[in-house]
C-alpha cells in the first residue's frame, strides 16, 4: 500500500503541492487526473523517491522512502517501475538495448534469454522491427511504447505511468490502455496512471484521484466521479469552459 501523507513541495516561491493526501491500495489501479501543470508528475517523482518532500512523507508498506538507508532503499526502488512523461530513453542505446538495459544490469540472465524476452515485450507494444533504431530515429509515440516495454519487462510490483498514451493515435492509445489493463489484471501490480484520457481511462481503472491546486480534491470509483456534484470535478471531467477552474 502506498500512502502519501500531507506532502508539501515548492520550487522557489511557487508552491506546487500543498498537503497531498492519497492512499493507493495494493493490487489496484488508480488514475491520477488533474490540469496541466498541477503537479502530477512531481507527485509521481515523490512517490518513487526522486524528489524529497519539503514536508510530509510517502509511505510504501509503512516505510518512508526518504528515510531509508541505502540498501533497503535500493530494495524498495527495485519493486517500482516508472514510465516517464518524456520516455527518458537512453539516447546512446538502441531500442533493443534500452529495453534490455534493466535485464542486463539487474539480472544474471543469459543473452539469448534476454533477447527472447525483449523481442516478446517489443512485439507486445507493437514495435517489432524497430529494435535496431535509436531513440532519435523514432516518433514520440514509439518512444512512449519503448519506455513502457522497458518498464514492464522487469515485472515491477508497483508501476507508475506518466501519461502513457499522450501523443498516441486513438487506436494505439486504446491498445496500450488494454495492454495496461490486461497486465494489471494478470500480474496484479499496483498501478498509478497519470492521464488526460477522460473518460477512456474510467473503464480500465478501479479508482480515480483528482489533483487540484496542490491537493487531492477527489478520490473514488469511476461511477462516483461521474456522479460527483463537486463543481471543480464536474467541470474538469466534462471539459466545460465555464466553471470554477479558470484558464488564465
Amino acid at each position: 500500500m502506498i500512502k502519501v501523507v500531507d506532502l508539501f513541495k515548492s520550487f522557489k516561491d511557487h508552491e506546487v503541492l500543498s498537503g497531498v493526501n492519497l492512499t493507493i491500495a495494493s493490487g489496484c489501479s488508480t488514475a491520477l487526473i488533474g490540469g496541466s501543470g498541477q503537479g502530477k508528475s512531481i507527485l509521481l517523482k515523490h512517490i518513487i523517491g526522486l524528489l524529497r518532500p519539503d514536508k510530509g512523507k510517502v509511505l510504501v508498506d509503512n516505510q518512508d522512502i526518504s528515510k531509508l538507508r541505502r540498501r533497503p532503499r535500493k530494495q524498495l526502488k527495485e519493486r517500482f517501475g516508472i514510465v516517464f512523461q518524456g520516455g527518458a530513453l537512453f539516447d546512446s542505446l538502441t531500442v533493443f538495448d534500452n529495453v534490455a538495459f534493466p535485464l542486463r544490469e539487474k539480472t544474471r540472465l543469459k543473452e539469448p534469454v534476454i533477447r527472447d524476452k525483449v523481442l516478446h515485450e517489443l512485439s507486445r507494444v507493437g514495435l517489432s522491427g524497430a529494435e535496431n533504431k535509436y531513440p532519435s530515429e523514432i516518433s514520440g509515440g514509439m518512444k512512449k511504447r519503448v519506455a513502457l516495454a522497458r518498464c514492464l519487462i522487469m515485472n515491477p510490483e508497483i508501476v507508475l505511468f506518466d501519461e502513457p498514451t499522450a501523443g498516441l493515435d486513438p487506436l494505439i492509445g486504446k491498445a496500450i490502455h488494454r495492454m495496461i489493463w490486461e497486465c494489471q489484471k494478470s500480474f496484479k501490480f499496483t498501478a498509478l496512471i497519470v492521464t488526460h484520457e477522460i473518460p477512456a481511462i474510467f473503464s480500465i481503472v478501479d479508482n480515480i484521484a483528482m489533483l487540484y491546486n496542490g491537493k487531492i480534491i477527489f478520490t473514488g470509483t469511476p461511477e462516483e466521479i461521474r456522479a460527483s456534484q463537486d463543481p471543480v470535478v464536474h467541470q474538469f471531467i466534462h471539459g466545460e469552459l465555464e466553471g470554477p477552474i479558470s484558464l488564465k
Binding site: F80, G81, F84, Q85, G86, A88, F90, D91, E105, K106
Partner: protein, 260 residues
C-alpha cells in the same frame, strides 16, 4: 533598505552562492569517490569513456603537439642564439614540453574537446530525465555515469600528454635539424643528458591530476545543469571556463610544490 547596505548585500549573496557551490562540488566528488571504491567495477564503461575522450581529442593533440614543439624550437633557438647556447636547444625544448606545456596544453585541449562534450551529454541526460530513469531503476547515477568518466580522465590524460610531448619533441627536432642546421646528435644527446626520470614523472603526475580536475568539473556541471537547452549551454560554457582557469591555477601550485 538603506543604500549603505546594498554593496554588503551584493557581496554577501555572491559569497554565499560561491561557498554553496564549493560545498556542492565537494559533496559531489566525495560521493563519486565513495562509489569508486565499492564494487561492482564497471570496467567496460571505463573503457568506453577512455575511447570517447581519446577519439575526441587525439587528432587535436597530434596537431597542437607538433606545432607547439615546432614554435617552441623556433623561439628558443632565437633566444639561445643571443647567448651562443644553441647546442642546448634539445633539452630546453624537451624540458618545457615535459614539465609544463605538455600537461597544460593537452589538458586544455581535452577540456575543449571532451570536457565540453561530457558536460553537454550529462546535461542532456539530466534534462531528459535519463538520470532520473537510472535512479528509478535503483542504479546509482554516480556509479554509472560519473565514476567511469573520472577514472577515464585519470587514465587518458597522461596518455594524451605523452603523445603530445613525443610529437612536440620531434617537431622541435624537425625545426632545429631541418631549419636551423643543428646536428641531430646534439639535439638528442642533450635530451638524454639533462632530462631525468623525475621530470617525466612530475609531468605525468600533473596531467593525471588535470584529468581528475577536468572530469570532475565537467561531470559536476552537467549533473547539476539548469533547465532546457539554455541551461545545458550555460553549463557547458561554465565547465570549459572553470576547468581552463582551474587547470592554470592548479598548475602553478603543483609546480611550486614540486620544485621546492
Amino acid at each position: 533598505m538603506s543604500w549603505i547596505l546594498i554593496p554588503f548585500k551584493i557581496i554577501g549573496s555572491y559569497t554565499h552562492r560561491f561557498i554553496r557551490e564549493l560545498g556542492r562540488m565537494a559533496c559531489f566528488i566525495a560521493v563519486s569517490l565513495f562509489w569508486m571504491v565499492f564494487p561492482p567495477y564497471l570496467l567496460q564503461r571505463v573503457i568506453k569513456q577512455v575511447h570517447f575522450i581519446g577519439v575526441k581529442t587525439t587528432p587535436v593533440i597530434v596537431l597542437t603537439g607538433s606545432f607547439t614543439g615546432m614554435v617552441l624550437a623556433l623561439q628558443t633557438y632565437y633566444a639561445l642564439a643571443k647567448f651562443g647556447a644553441e647546442s642546448s636547444l634539445g633539452p630546453v625544448v624537451a624540458l618545457s614540453l615535459i614539465r609544463e606545456l605538455g600537461p597544460v596544453i593537452s589538458a586544455l585541449m581535452v577540456t575543449g574537446c571532451a570536457g565540453s562534450a561530457l558536460t553537454a551529454e550529462i546535461g542532456i541526460m539530466r534534462i531528459t530525465e535519463q538520470i532520473d530513469a537510472l535512479d528509478a531503476m535503483a542504479l546509482n547515477p554516480h556509479k554509472y555515469l560519473i565514476v567511469p568518466n573520472i577514472i577515464a580522465g585519470i587514465l587518458s590524460l597522461p596518455l594524451l600528454n605523452a603523445i603530445f610531448v613525443v610529437l612536440g619533441v620531434f617537431g622541435g627536432y624537425a625545426i632545429s635539424v631541418g631549419l636551423m642546421d643543428l646536428s641531430s646528435g646534439t639535439y638528442f644527446q642533450g635530451i638524454r643528458d639533462f632530462i631525468k626520470t623525475k621530470d617525466i614523472f612530475e609531468g605525468l603526475c600533473k596531467s593525471l591530476s588535470f584529468g581528475f580536475l577536468i572530469t570532475w568539473i565537467s561531470c559536476y556541471k552537467g549533473y547539476f545543469t539548469g533547465y532546457g537547452a539554455e541551461g545545458v549551454s550555460k553549463s557547458t560554457i561554465q565547465s570549459v571556463v572553470l576547468s581552463s582557469v582551474l587547470i592554470l591555477i592548479w598548475d602553478y601550485f603543483m609546480t611550486s610544490i614540486m620544485i621546492l
